[in-house]
């Protein structure tokens, strides 16, 4: 339904009195609007959503799903949908960069990494989190990094694959966690996005008592269309329990000051800078995260093809202050030491004097020869072995046998490249821009004795004293046949029935025919003959029951 087709000319009311209309949107309606906005699969119109569409706060799109209108957005908020906005402890956002740094620095040895990563070497970096929890998370995450091809354990030591690591770090934290927590996510974009949304919403949960957490996790599961085991939410510090109250951990805000000091420490609050794990060693993460540039961390960076200029450029861009004068010369000195000795994996090709002369002269072979250590001994590129073998064959060396000696297998990176970022966390304010004003609605409703006006006020259609009661076709109960037709229409169209009785009491709700002479409204069985006045109201009107005494008591 478009805003133009709103009942009672509500379009202009919404336009003229936005604040009052939104002030009449109840907490439950606000939560429903938020769910419409957050739901990964979308929500289709239903009786539950009619109150929102009738008032122009949500509308059906071309896809048939509900969307929150521009004005409705002002009633959208994370809380109370996700809890009560309690104090939350910081989420250890540096967990993954710290882990990648441990891999990059070749600290973790093949076959022993589980033992190392669960020792104080790693867990002490996170003083705000229980040791067992961080150790468990690290083992699980490391295992996934290996499976995802970000870390490589195939040559006797664990190494970082820089391109894969960089792709991984370009994702949102929620996507990274989705890839770590849920196997198969790397091949299924939709499942990755659903899981990322689930994690995002779980991180936002706040102040939930232990006995109610299941209900909230069910809600998140229904919004995202997937679920994450509760133990993983705690293991990866997405959820945190404190005195029986569960909250998501608070994701760090935007990074503000980043300082590189003369002792080569790097400190900042907020999110971790993208590539710092490539060249710095982690020191601690809590409210502030600290790294340090060390000889061994720079060795790791150089091994990953970074140069002193790359490191300086990266730090200059990140640092809020000029870099210490010593930094670049020190790093350059280390680089100079690093590059003064280099190990290459090569194949030794031995030729007799005649063949050596020919090989020397062959232009097609030149690019594959790394060096010569004697007249007849050539150091050949291992990686291009098939190419230079073919070149030799083409040059007539068809009797070259297989390469002897130990076999060095070059493992190729996982065929399944890491997916690009596709999850964009929804942006919602924590509290409504215009809060629900229960008191205001009650005062307005008390100001009238007209039951129809009262119903429209309580349903959020009349929001101000100056707003007239719209005219509605009301059928006098004396016209029995007409009354029957109207009731029949209300039932078939699924609209709400207004039924007023002689004693002044009123029932509003969906009617159901029980027999020839009676209908049921809101569980009340009523004789049609006793209805004094009746009308059809939009679906969005609330089910209500008014008695004359309700007015007397005021």
């Amino acid at each position: 339904m478009s805003e133009k087709a709103l009942p009672f000319d509500f379009g202009s009311t919404l336009e003229d009195r936005t604040e009052e209309v939104l002030g009449a949107v109840t907490e439950e309606e606000g939560m429903l609007l938020t769910e419409i906005l957050l739901s990964y699969d979308g929500i289709y119109p239903s009786d539950n959503t009619a109150a929102l569409t009738d008032r122009g706060l949500a509308f059906s799109g071309d896809d048939g799903k509900l969307h929150v209108g521009e004005k409705g957005m002002k009633a959208v908020s994370l809380f109370p949908l996700l809890g009560t906005k309690a104090k939350r402890r910081p989420y250890p956002e540096a967990f993954i960069p710290f882990l990648l740094s441990a891999v990059a620095s070749s600290t973790l040895q093949s076959g022993r990494w589980q033992k190392m990563i669960t020792s104080d070497f790693f867990t002490a970096l996170f003083p705000g989190i229980e040791k067992e929890r961080i150790a468990g998370a690290a083992v699980k995450a490391m295992d996934r990094l290996l499976k995802l091809g970000i870390a490589d354990d195939s040559e006797g030591e664990i190494r970082l694959r820089r391109p894969e690591a960089e792709s991984f770090m370009r994702l949102t934290e929620e996507e990274r966690l989705a890839l770590i927590i849920k196997e198969g996510c790397e091949h299924n974009r939709e499942e990755r996005e659903r899981t990322a949304l689930y994690i995002h919403l779980a991180l936002l949960l706040s102040g939930i008592s232990e006995d109610r957490i299941e209900k909230y996790l069910d809600l998140i599961a229904s919004l995202s269309g997937t679920a994450v085991p509760e133990e993983d939410l705690f293991l990866f510090s997405i959820l945190d329990e404190n005195d029986g109250i569960i909250s998501g951990r608070e994701f760090p805000g935007k990074r503000d000051t980043l300082a590189v000091s003369s002792d080569f420490s790097i400190t900042y609050t907020g999110t971790s800078p993208g590539e710092i794990y490539l060249y710095a060693s982690p020191i601690i993460t809590d409210s502030i995260t600290e790294w340090k540039l060390t000889k061994s961390s720079l060795k790791a960076a150089f091994s990953l093809d970074m140069t002193p200029d790359d490191v300086r450029a990266s730090l200059s861009e990140l640092s809020s202050f000029p870099l210490p004068d010593t930094l670049y010369p020190r790093i350059s000195g280390w680089f100079s030491s690093f590059s003064s000795l280099h190990a290459d994996r090569v194949l030794l090709l031995t030729a007799d004097e005649r063949n050596a002369r020919i090989i020397d002269a062959l232009p097609t072979l030149r690019i594959h020869i790394i060096g010569k250590i004697g007249d007849n001994l050539f150091l050949m590129n291992t990686e291009t072995e098939p190419l230079w073998r073919r070149a030799l064959e083409n040059a007539g060396f068809d009797m070259l046998g297989p390469t002897s000696g130990p076999h060095f297998e070059k493992t190729m990176a996982d065929e399944n490249k890491l997916p690009p970022r596709s999850f964009n966390p929804p942006e919602i304010r924590e509290e409504r821009e215009i809060a629900f004003s229960e008191e205001q609605a009650k005062m307005l409703s008390d100001s009238t004795a007209d039951p129809l006006r009262k119903i429209l006020i309580l349903s959020g259609f009349i929001v101000a004293e100056a707003q007239p009661t719209p005219s509605i076709d009301m059928v006098n109960g004396l016209y029995y046949q007409e009354k029957l037709r109207l009731i029949h229409s209300a039932i078939t169209e699924g609209k709400k029935l207004y039924a007023e009785f002689v004693d002044g009491s009123v029932l509003v709700g969906k009617a159901e025919r029980t027999d020839e002479e009676r209908i049921s409204v809101n569980g009340h069985l009523i004789e049609i003959a006793r209805i004094w006045r009746t009308a059809i109201l939009p679906k969005g009107i609330k089910d209500l029951e008014l008695h004359p005494s309700d007015n007397d008591s005021q």
């Binding site: 000051t257 300082a259 003369s262 809590d286 202050f321 004068d325 010593t326 000195g333 100079s336």
Partner: protein, 549 residues
């Protein structure tokens, strides 16, 4: 960072102070009473809350509520509940063990609950030190007071020592009005002496080299007005103290004694060396001169350069818990890791100020640190490659090309007062042979040393070659260039102390050069040596020797 809340309190009880915040000074003033400064580079200073720092704060009158109020006032994030619990818990523990007077021979240790008494009885390290009186009290021999407290602190049982410090024999020490103490010196003495109540009157003051630690000591002496014993690391420092006392106070030569290898003169204010009090004829003998501590009627003992406190003095200090005590140092970094013992026996750190603060205010000279890299001569390369690790360091440290490098630096600073500081005597003598400048080593007689220092101070000798004897406690006000040709492996405090020789404020900046053989072990050791100073915000420029034409 937020301007009015410059502090970040972490779960591991470290606190990071954003020094660029306008509120940083105020915040520092409030947290220093219960946290130790760990490092102070140019942007973020790190403080640590420890059991000891909390107990010391509480012993001097702070409460857990006040500490938490200060943290809440300055912390930009909500305090972690574990931090709150820790502070309250530690504060509550203080008072579980109370030490009071009993009789001439014994003190009385009272525990709050009988279960604590059982814990004490079960501790092996306390056996023989405490004698149970009843289910909540123990007798403790007077002489065990310091050792007991130190051991109990290690066990996590802080002792609330309620025995007032002795007054000592009164001695009027009046300050001359020829000088004005600096604000931080007054602040430091106030922190030490507090209101004079329990928990005050003993402790350590940490101030940068050249910032006037001696003056702080003299101010404390004047406030207390008692007989004072001053312990120094060497005779030259003894003479400096005496000179300063005569210059800054109205004490006369008759009231100041020197107790050293040269003189054995006991006066109301006596200055001696650590070496002389720990002398004994052989390793099995008693330390006879420990009687010096007991017999002088001292009300106040000053341990100058307390980071050099020798192990036997720890022992005697444990006995001297009834006397006002002050430790003075610039670098409470002991490579043997015994800083804790200094704190428990001499007294906790009462005052510490970042070097960069005093440099910015002109109280110490602005110093530029240079690491000058030079190659190892080709003929030494193989010798170096096959040498063992320690030998490698020595080969690199004694690189003969350092002579030429030093020559270039001396030429660059011609006319300035220059110190050439080294570790190895052969190397120092090689430099002397090359340059002909006078040299001071451990073998140089005190008289000769004093003469040379005086000539250097007067500008009659412009370059002085010194061994590690000049690492600390030598006041050379005009020295503005130091060339470090070798050092004790990775010693951080030695590096800082050596820089300290050129930090007296003067009309021009100071330069500290370290000659390092590139691509050798010496590079790594040099970096470790620089750790303390880089944590104080000093930045070393790395230069190639070729750049010195």
């Amino acid at each position: 960072m937020e301007e009015d809340r410059p502090l970040t309190v972490q779960s591991d009880r470290t606190m990071l102070l954003d020094v660029h915040s306008p509120a940083a000074d105020k915040c520092r003033g409030e947290i220093i009473a219960f946290a130790d400064l760990v490092k102070s580079p140019e942007h973020v200073h790190t403080y640590q809350i420890s059991q000891l720092s909390l107990w010391n704060a509480i012993s001097s009158g702070l409460t857990a509520d006040e500490i938490l109020r200060r943290l809440e006032r300055w912390s930009r994030f909500d305090l972690d509940s574990r931090i709150i619990f820790y502070i309250k818990d530690q504060a509550e523990r203080y008072g579980d063990f109370i030490l009071t007077e009993l009789d001439d021979e014994y003190l009385l240790l009272t525990v709050r609950r009988p279960v604590f008494a059982l814990q004490l009885k079960a501790e092996d390290s306390l056996r023989g030190m405490i004698e149970a009186e009843d289910e909540k009290t123990f007798r403790v021999k007077r002489m065990m007071r310091g050792v007991l407290k130190a051991r109990m602190i290690k066990l996590g049982f802080p002792v609330d020592d309620r025995i007032p410090l002795k007054k000592g024999v009164p001695q009027t020490i009046k300050l001359r009005n020829t000088f004005t103490p600096r604000p931080y010196q007054i602040e430091a003495v106030n922190s030490l002496l507090g209101d004079g109540g329990n928990g005050t009157g003993y402790g350590t003051i940490v101030l940068p080299c050249g910032s006037g630690k001696t003056i702080a000591g003299i101010l404390a002496m004047a406030r207390l007005g008692m007989r004072t014993l001053i312990l120094c690391p060497n005779v030259t420092a003894v003479h400096q103290w005496i000179r300063e006392l005569l210059d800054k106070t109205e004490l006369t030569e008759n009231e100041i004694g020197e107790y050293s290898g040269e003189k054995k003169d006991m006066k109301p204010v006596t200055v001696c060396t650590y070496q002389i009090v720990t002398w004994r004829p052989d390793t099995d003998s008693e330390y006879k001169r420990f009687s010096l501590f007991r017999d002088g009627g001292w009300g106040f003992i000053i341990y100058d350069e307390v980071h050099m406190l020798p192990a036997p003095v720890f022992r005697i200090t444990a006995e001297l818990q009834a006397i006002h005590r002050l430790g003075l140092t610039a670098t409470l970094v002991r490579e043997d890791g015994r800083e804790d013992e200094v704190f428990s026996l001499v007294g906790p750190k009462r005052y510490d100020t970042p070097w960069s603060e005093l440099e910015a205010k002109g109280y110490i000279a602005k110093a530029y640190c240079h690491e000058v890299r030079l190659p190892l001569p080709e003929e030494k390369e193989i010798e170096y490659a096959i040498a063992k690790k320690r030998e490698k360091y020595r080969i690199a440290a004694e690189n003969p090309l350092k002579i030429d490098a030093a020559k270039k630096i001396i030429r660059k600073h011609e006319g300035e007062s220059i110190l050439i500081i080294g570790q190895y005597l052969d190397q120092l003598e090689m430099f002397q042979n090359e340059f002909g400048y006078p040299i001071i080593t451990g073998a140089t007689a005190t008289k000769k040393r004093d003469e040379l220092y005086t000539l250097f101070r007067e500008g009659k000798v412009k370059v002085l070659i010194v061994s590690k004897v000049a690492n600390a406690a030598i006041d050379l006000p005009d020295a503005s260039v130091a060339i470090q040709i070798s050092g004790t492996f990775g010693s951080r405090q030695e590096e800082a102390q050596r820089l300290g020789r050129i930090l007296r404020p003067k009309s021009h900046d100071s330069h500290f050069y370290t000659l390092v053989t590139e691509y050798t072990e010496e590079e790594d050791f040099a970096q470790n040596r620089q750790k303390f100073l880089s944590e104080q915000g000093y930045s070393y420029t790395i230069e190639k020797v070729e750049s010195y034409v």
